[in-house]
């Protein structure tokens, strides 16, 4: 059997001193190592952001609680949102993209390995800047304060007048810096996909994960940059006496909202599209069928990318736009649900007629489908702007977006972890611990986020450090908080699985899942150079063709 590995004679691969190892990691330009660095730092901030969430949930367990002061609470929800979006979700997805894209296209590395490293470290520096505010930022209440302006920092709350000191500046700078890192990674992903595909891999033969990361990267270029521009404007206001968002000088608070959401809405698609990518790789393998409707999946993704650029003001239905503007954004927001729904149908279509294997990656994927459907439907509810005039800024919308981010993105990520961890480490994650993780997290998730819709319907606004008794919110909030703790336990199980399996997991071999894309043709973990000889492909599932030479995909595409 020919193995696509250049073997190293026994005896040469000796253990290195740990300083050496550390140095290798810090100076690496290898996409696989950078991918792991992104993922590891995201996991660290997931735990930190999770602690912030638990603090919020303890405070809200019952009315008039005083577990934390209002000042601390306001910092917690600001930091929780900022951390989770910018220093957990984006890095972990960039990490997986970094790791998988070159492997799936048969390339040696990303197009610009040094830019890749630079982008990672910029992103990590951004995270450090944000958390440095705990030491350095002097906000409204003295030194050592995290920002407390919410993760959107609406004008004029973010202005010097209402946020003196430096807490807000750490927020602004951290996002500006990590934003540049994101742009660097996006450029790298696009150049890699367009320029480094192996022979035979035409655009319509790329794995869907590669397609979707290409679309995501394109969106990053157009979505992150408006935020960067707005951050620069905010800094000019705060430090150079500018008036971009200074309502006293004729400036517009609404303009900040437009700029922020022109970033903010495409951003959530930037986050979900790579998760669609994971689902499009995992569901076919565990259904033992190719993805149903590959060209439609590509077209729908591109369609989502374009339409999602036109929906941003559905975050602004309450700010007093005229009825024509509200109607327009209602229409576009409902419209973006069409290509999104098509994808859900295609995934179900993939499972239909298959032979489904309920391994842990597939459990998370099925839960994803169920939860993403619900999240999409609550989104359609809020797309109807009059309904949104009640639901917006309440716990209903908090429930909705956590349904997408936790129920959708995080579940898909867990699936991706269980699926690709064997490739990255050479070890299988424990199925037993995986199932504990899955069921605990599922129960906790639904306890928290299903129930959370109800206080919203009962009039509970978001971002409040406490609430009045007698509104009917107490018991509901208690249940929500209990669910949060169950999720926390599940995360601990997950982390334990990651660590224990690294040392004791079963040997993975090249291709533990009997899958069909190029990364499964090389060893686990892959050698530094990825492929000893550049592969050539003739279809969308090169390994299927190899395993089934009597019935290759290339005959049907």
């Amino acid at each position: 059997m020919s193995s696509n590995v250049i073997t190293v004679p026994v005896g040469q691969a000796e253990a290195r001193p740990w300083v050496d190892e550390l140095h290798q990691w810090v100076t690496t330009v290898d996409h696989k190592r950078l991918g792991i660095l992104y993922i590891a730092s995201a996991l660290l901030f997931l735990v930190i952001g999770g602690v912030e969430a638990l603090i919020i949930r303890i405070q809200l367990m019952h009315s008039h609680n005083n577990f934390v002061s209002p000042e601390v609470f306001n910092r917690m929800f600001t930091m929780h949102g900022t951390t989770m979006i910018f220093f957990v979700a984006m890095p972990v997805l960039f990490g997986f993209a970094n790791y998988l894209v070159p492997l799936m296209i048969g390339a040696r590395d990303m197009a610009f390995p040094r830019l890749n490293a630079f982008s990672f470290w910029l992103s990590f520096l951004g995270a450090l800047l944000l958390y440095f505010s705990l030491v350095g930022g002097s906000g409204l209440y003295g030194a050592g304060n995290a920002p407390d302006v919410g993760w959107w920092s609406y004008a004029p709350l973010g202005a010097r007048a209402f946020s003196p000191g430096h807490s807000s500046d750490y927020w602004t700078l951290s996002l500006l810096v990590s934003g540049f890192g994101s742009i660097g990674t996006a450029i790298n992903i696009i150049a890699t996909i367009l320029c480094l595909r192996c022979p035979g891999m035409k655009l319509n033969r790329m794995p869907l994960l590669v397609w979707m990361n290409l679309v995501m990267a394109g969106m990053v270029l157009l979505a992150i940059t408006p935020l960067s521009a707005a951050q620069i404007m905010l800094l000019i206001d705060r430090y150079l006496g500018g008036h971009f968002f200074d309502t006293q000088a004729g400036g517009s608070a609404v303009l900040w909202m437009h700029f922020f959401w022109i970033f903010g809405h495409p951003e959530v698609y930037v986050l979900i599209i790579p998760c669609f990518a994971f689902m499009s790789e995992i569901i076919p393998v565990f259904s033992r069928k190719p993805i149903f409707g590959y060209p439609v999946m590509v077209a729908a993704t591109v369609c989502i990318a374009f339409v999602s650029m036109s929906v941003w003001a559905h975050h602004m239905f309450t700010i007093g736009m005229n009825s024509y503007a509200n109607s327009f954004f209602t229409l576009t927001t409902m419209a973006v649900g069409v290509p999104t729904g098509i994808k859900i149908f295609n995934w179900i279509g993939t499972m239909w007629g298959g032979r489904i294997q309920f391994k842990t990656p597939m459990l998370f994927s099925i839960a994803f489908l169920f939860q993403f459907l619900i999240a999409g439907l609550t989104g359609i509810m809020m797309a109807a702007s009059p309904f949104d005039w009640q639901l917006s800024l309440s716990y209903f919308v908090v429930a909705h977006f956590h349904y997408v981010i936790v129920g959708g993105i995080l579940f898909a990520l867990f699936g991706a972890f269980y699926y690709w961890y064997p490739k990255m480490t050479g070890r299988m994650l424990s199925e037993r611990l995986g199932k504990w993780h899955f069921w605990l997290f599922l129960i906790g998730f639904h306890l928290t986020f299903d129930v959370m819709h109800i206080p919203g319907i009962l009039g509970m606004p978001r971002r409040i450090y406490t609430y009045e008794p007698g509104r009917g919110w107490d018991t509901l909030n208690l249940i929500v908080s209990i669910g949060a703790f169950i999720q926390a336990i599940a995360i601990l199980v997950f982390v334990a699985n990651l660590i224990i399996s690294y040392f004791k997991g079963a040997d993975a071999g090249n291709d533990p899942w009997d899958a069909w894309t190029l990364e499964w043709s090389i060893s686990s973990p892959p050698p530094a150079y990825n492929f000893a000889t550049v592969p050539t492909v003739a279809s969308r599932r090169p390994l299927w063709d190899e395993k089934h030479p009597e019935d290759p995909d290339s005959r049907y595409e």
Binding site: R288, I319, M334
Partner: protein, 352 residues
């Protein structure tokens, strides 16, 4: 002129009634006391804007509910029917790549659903936002502050704070309240769920909303746009009054402050400390605009925008140290001596 009337939904009457009973009951069951409508349930509307939202929302919920049931059924069916059983001997199922007809079907049907939903929604948007103001309407200007509400009735010459009194509106002869929404500092949002959807108060961006409550009573709400430290305690209390009650409230509010000879000492404390820099008491030299108008303080049942009941002890504590009740409030502790404190509170308690 025509006020937008509540339209009966296109759904069968039965379905709509069931849902209207079901939703408040479910949300009420899930709530604390077991009896529903604690005052902020969006499915217990008492005013046309809120009612038309409920009607629309039921339509949307039914459609999304149907979509949910269909898709989840397909998902569950596929999990059960197509699960791999034990050792399949490594046989792979038929490798199906797609189907253009199916793709077209599940593209066109959602597009049609979107068109229907959009048209239903656009109607309500227009009816609510573009409703003309009738002659009998009451005008109120609401100005958002960190962390309290200023209400001005320009045609009546009234200024008050935090507790809004408006007349009940008879559908046959409507007397809605039209609010102009402004802000003195940062962004806020006026949300009284049972009366209307929320609308933001944004500096340099005046907004407009209306409500026509069709039953009397107290309606609760609070600020919904994060505005700073005490965003959570910027509560709203709307008292919908019958015509007589409203008229008598107005006549009291129009008067200048009560002059009680027994409270002269306290009034002096009020005027000689910085109180008058921020607060107004009509008929005295206190004409500050930064804080709430206190002319008829005792006509309000709460203080500090709902953060505390308007009792002697709370009032005293508030003046002594606002951060004991509402830390982060912009009212400074005046550091009065106990004697001055008691005097000024006695004075404030004469401001009916």
């Amino acid at each position: 002129m025509s006020m937008p009337q509540m339209r009966s939904s296109t759904l069968p009457f039965l379905a709509r009634t069931i849902l209207l009973l079901f939703l408040p009951a479910v949300t009420g069951w899930a709530s604390e006391s077991g009896s529903y409508s604690p005052g902020t349930n969006i499915f217990a509307p008492a005013s046309t804007p809120a009612k038309s939202i409920v009607d629309l929302s039921i339509f949307v919920l039914v459609i999304t509910g149907i979509i949910f049931l269909v898709v989840v059924s397909l998902l569950l069916y596929s999990i059960v029917k197509f699960r791999g059983r034990g050792m399949d001997g490594g046989r792979e199922p038929a490798q199906v790549y797609g189907s253009m007809q199916i793709e077209l079907a599940w593209t066109i049907i959602p597009i049609l659903i979107v068109v229907v939903l959009f048209l239903a929604t656009a109607r309500v948007i227009h009816a609510t936002q573009d409703a003309p103001e009738p002659a009998g309407a009451l005008d109120v200007i609401a100005i958002g502050h960190q962390y309290w509400w200023e209400f001005r009735y320009p045609k009546l010459g009234i200024v008050t704070a935090n507790e809004l009194h408006i007349p009940v509106s008879d559908p046959g002869h409507p007397t809605p309240t039209f609010l102009q929404l402004l802000s003195a500092d940062t962004d806020h949002s006026f949300w009284v769920p049972e009366l209307a959807g929320k609308t933001d108060l944004i500096p340099n961006h005046p907004n407009r909303m209306w409500m026509d409550p069709q039953r009397t009573g107290i309606f609760l709400g609070q600020c919904a746009q994060y505005c700073g430290t005490q965003h959570a305690k910027m509560l709203l209390r709307v008292s919908v009054d019958g015509p007589d009650d409203f008229a008598s409230w107005v006549s009291v509010q129009k008067k200048a402050a009560v002059e009680d000879a027994g409270a002269i000492a306290g009034r002096r404390v009020f005027e000689q400390n910085a109180c008058m820099n921020c607060h107004r008491v009509d008929g005295t030299s206190a004409d500050g605009r930064f804080g709430p108008d206190l002319t008829h303080l005792m006509s309000r049942s709460t203080i500090a925008a709902g953060a505390a009941e308007n009792t002697h002890d709370n009032l005293r504590l508030w003046v002594q140290d606002p951060s004991a009740i509402k830390p982060g409030s912009l009212m400074p502790a005046m550091k009065l001596s106990d004697a001055d404190l008691d005097a000024v509170v006695s004075y404030m308690e004469t401001l009916h």
